[in-house]
Amino acid sequence: MQGTVSLTQFVVISILKIAIGLGALLTLDAYTVLAERKIVGRIQNRWGPSRVGPFGLLQPVADAFKLLFKEDITPPYVYKPLYLLAPVLALALSLCSIAVIPIGNDITIRGYTTALQITDINVGLLVILGITSIGVYGVALAGWSSNNKYSLLGSLRASAQMISYEVALGLSLVGVLILSGTFSLRGIVDAQAGTWIIRGFNTHIPQWNIFPQFVGFLIYLTAAYAETNRIPFDLPEAETELVAGYHTEYSSMKFAMFFMAEYANMITVACLASLLFLGGWHGPLFGPPLMQALLPVFWFTLRVFFFLFLYIWIRGTLPRFRYDQLMAFSWKVLLPLAIANIVIISLVVALTS
């Protein structure tokens, strides 16, 4: 990937990229929470947070301080090693995924060319799926080690739901993989450059995977909502039945870690949706060289914000599923649909190529 850099240079640049990536992710994390409170407020015909700073923009800072200085209670009878490990696991894994997500083309600074991504590996997409599949442990262990019935029920629901929807999620991506022929996220984005040309006729429609893979896109979106335990699939923390589900017994910063993990997962899923289905950072480029270098990042961020907004919009609109409906929906609707989608797209690709 990097041609002629020494090990020291590579390490320094990687650490820089990790620091910038993590900083950006955590900031976005905090402001997604604020955006959610603001937008849900508007949907419910109220203002949302508006007191701290201009337009309530400093609210995340106030929230962070509040959570940091709250009393950190460890209830008696919890299984302490796992009780402490669970939030760390949840947050660490959700932050890991950012490592393979590209946000733009290569950039060149002082003769050194680097990718706008912490590391580009050939199996980037699978790495994210792997990290998501391990992410179940954070939730499962939290509920079990809390020694609380509500927590245990919440975490059992969460594990069952995440395992079920992971199947549909994985299968919904196969169509994209068949079309682009690579697991590398950068390769998938590169495969979506240009416009659809049908029989020599330029349609001027961008060559995004969402057009041939619309069904796959809908399956992915639905399964992704369930993976991140968001309304309408937030059964693991259904407050009317389970108090707060798996994080009932967590307070202060430990609770905040679960909260941050959930939003970081949302961001990862939104990034993945933009990369896989909406052409990543492709968009019109114009202006001076610096602007041309930064525009791809802007287009990519715009798509991610769109998906985050969609998340919040749906949260403000839809009621919660019943649990048996949720499981039946995954196995009886999404899974057959995803398999049919794979069969059809494979046939089309095999017959046309």
């Binding site: 796992l82 199996v123 792997g130 179940v136 499962a140 975490s155 594990s159 395992i163």
Partner: protein, 180 residues
């Protein structure tokens, strides 16, 4: 050099996890140790340059199979196991057997290694090559294995279902109408 250091670290973690798996008294700790072993094995694959295999190892073993293990342990609410002194037969036969088996294995590996040195990353195992092997060269064994797994699943279903007439199915209250 970096490879050897990383290999040693993760090999030690894998062995420590395996020992911990047996030494722990609580089933959930044992299951978690097994996850550590599998994750460090995945890192070893990664060090050999087999990215695809490493990630598949994490997704299938750590992500899918072990989640079901942990799930079951949580559902059964299995408590701590009692520590026993072990049986005398196991001690008398097991320890020499272990030494014999381990020694033979080590000797065989030592004897036959070093004839052909394969550099790390020389056989990367790209998804395309693995797919070609599975679905063309070894298609029959692959399909037969899946039938084997299907038989195991059917066996589990048969074992789990109650014998005929032994138990009345539990009557569930009718689901609320008009919601679906």
């Amino acid at each position: 050099m970096v490879h050897i250091v990383l290999f040693t670290i993760f090999a030690l973690i894998a062995v420590a996890g395996a020992v911990n798996l047996i030494a722990q008294r609580h089933p959930i700790n044992s299951a978690l140790s097994l996850i550590v072993v599998m994750a460090s094995l995945a890192v070893e694959y990664l060090l050999l340059g087999a990215e695809f295999l490493a990630v598949i190892q994490v997704i299938i073993y750590a992500g899918a199979i072990m989640v079901l293990f942990v799930f079951t342990i949580m559902l059964l609410n299995a408590g701590e196991e009692e520590r026993t002194h072990g049986s005398r037969v196991a001690l008398l036969l097991g320890v020499p057997g272990l030494i014999l088996g381990g020694g033979t294995l080590a000797w065989l590996l030592f004897r036959h290694s070093g004839t052909v040195a394969v550099a790390a990353g020389a056989l990367p195992g790209f998804p395309k090559e693995i797919g070609r092997l599975l679905f063309r060269d070894f298609l029959l064994p692959f399909e037969v294995t899946s039938v084997l797994i299907l038989i195991a699943i059917m066996g589990a279903v048969v074992l789990a279902s109650p014998p005929k007439g032994a138990q009345e199915p539990i009557e569930l209250p009718p689901a609320p109408q008009g919601e679906e």
